[in-house]
Amino acid sequence: AGATGAAGPSATAIGATASGDRTLTVFAAASLTDVLEEIATAFETDHPGLHVLRSYAGSSDLAAQINEGAPADVFLSADQSTMDKIAGAVAGEPTVFATNTLTFVVPAGNPAGIADLASFAKPGVTTVICAPQVPCGAATATLAALGGVTLSPASEEASVTDVLGKVASGQADAGIVYVTDVARAEGVEAVPIARADAVVNRYPAAALAAAADAATAQAFVDYLAGDEARAVLTGAGFGAP
């Protein structure tokens, strides 16, 4: 869809960075910032003269932008449902390149002694989780249902980062986030949740129909699923698809 108009905006955006080289514009969920920096750099090394432009934001922000004609070549979503929202703009099939599972996050030393869902749901413990509207919140709700507990959080946050922030700042005694999120945060530690792998979050990547250079875009998606990228992803705590 809309392949004809793509050259204009692309050219403008890229022109502003000024280089005669080829560029590939990747829109990626903000939680992938660290890994993508590494992967993109490696990809550039493999493709001399190629410059990978990265734009990070919340998955749904990016999806909205793509639907509005943003000059993106590749989209890396943090969940399946967001990828579905731009189905019309995707070239071919999205590829799942990583997975993630939930974990408790607690301040260093776990002062509230969180061990399982039951202790997490105990009255008197200040907990924060993602709101059910966002992917991690939906997953949390599923997990709670599986565990048969009713959560009464102090706050239902709009993103994982907000949950992490509340716990890291000591406002909350515990939260539920993805494994990879704990890995990149400081001052907090993870407490595994039993049966967490029953609820797996998948990260799909897709080349976009509007891509100026469809081959390179697809190459990047393939590269994500490849071994080199896998190593980086695993290092950051992501699971394999």
């Binding site: 909205a64 509207q133 706050s155 239902e156 907000d162 922030g165 700042s169 406002q171």
Partner: protein, 260 residues
């Protein structure tokens, strides 16, 4: 006071810059579902909370911001004069802080591990009061700047004359100065209210997001967006309508022109 004719096209352009996006928003709303979306219990709860907290925050900025504006103006003479520009700039800081950072800053001051953590014992977190504080924090600059610039435009002559007539400082302040800066107070209050109503980042980070307690309309809209962008646009429009209504009703620039 009719400006030159060439102002008109510029004004129209300025108007379009504001109006077109709003029109765009309206064009995106599915009107068939509008009413049910907007009257959903969650939306109403969030809207009510927003109006209550924004009103409280506006009162707070009036209560604290007006004195602060005065103090700032008072610094123009005396030993503190050199620090005035710096203090003014610091007061403007909440305007510059990106939304999330404002919340972080509030956390590091009033959070459980913040500067006042011992004193407050984290009792503020996740409460409606925290929302009000976050909103007042971001809205404060408007009040202070409005008040100060209104004071700068005054010569202080009427205040001096009031003093010769035996008026106490309080009397002079209440009867002479305040009536003289009513337009500035109105402007400050409207800007503060609107800013508080739209507050998002600092609230999210500092107060959290729990329906009925801390989830104001902007937070609700942000979440709705994840699942239902149309609903988010609709609720945004309602928020804008509320603001427009309050502003149109409350803010008629009062003509307390200084007598010639």
């Amino acid at each position: 006071m009719t400006g030159p004719r060439w102002l008109a096209p510029l004004a129209a352009l300025g108007g379009l810059l504001v109006l077109l996006p709003l029109a765009g928003l309206v064009s995106r709303v599915e009107w068939s579902e509008f009413w049910s979306l907007v009257t959903a219990p969650d939306s109403l709860t969030a809207l009510q909370l927003s109006i209550r907290t924004a009103t409280a925050a506006t009162v707070l900025t009036l209560l604290l911001g007006v004195p602060l504006g005065f103090a700032l103006h008072g610094m123009r003479r005396g030993p503190l004069a050199p620090a005035r520009a710096a203090v003014r700039a610091v007061v403007l800081a909440p305007l510059v802080l990106p939304p999330v950072v404002g919340g972080l800053a509030l956390l590091s001051a009033f959070g459980r591990r913040g500067l006042l953590g011992e004193v407050l014992g984290g009792s503020l977190a996740f409460t409606t009061l925290a929302v009000i504080i976050a909103q007042a924090f971001v809205a404060m600059p408007f009040m202070v700047v409005s008040v100060e610039s209104a004071l700068v435009a005054r010569s202080g002559r009427r205040e001096a004359i009031a003093a010769t007539l035996g008026a106490s400082r309080t009397r002079t302040f209440v009867r002479v100065t305040l009536p003289g800066i009513v337009p500035a107070l109105a402007t400050g209050a409207v800007l503060a209210f609107a800013r508080a109503l739209g507050e998002f980042g600092a609230t999210l980070t500092f107060a959290g997001s729990l329906a009925g307690v801390t989830r104001t309309a902007p937070l609700d809209i942000y979440l709705l967006r994840e699942t239902d962008p149309e609903a988010a646009a609709a609720l945004s429009l309602v928020l804008v309508a509320v603001a427009i209504g309050v502003v149109a009703l409350a803010y008629r620039p009062v003509t307390t022109r200084t007598p010639r």
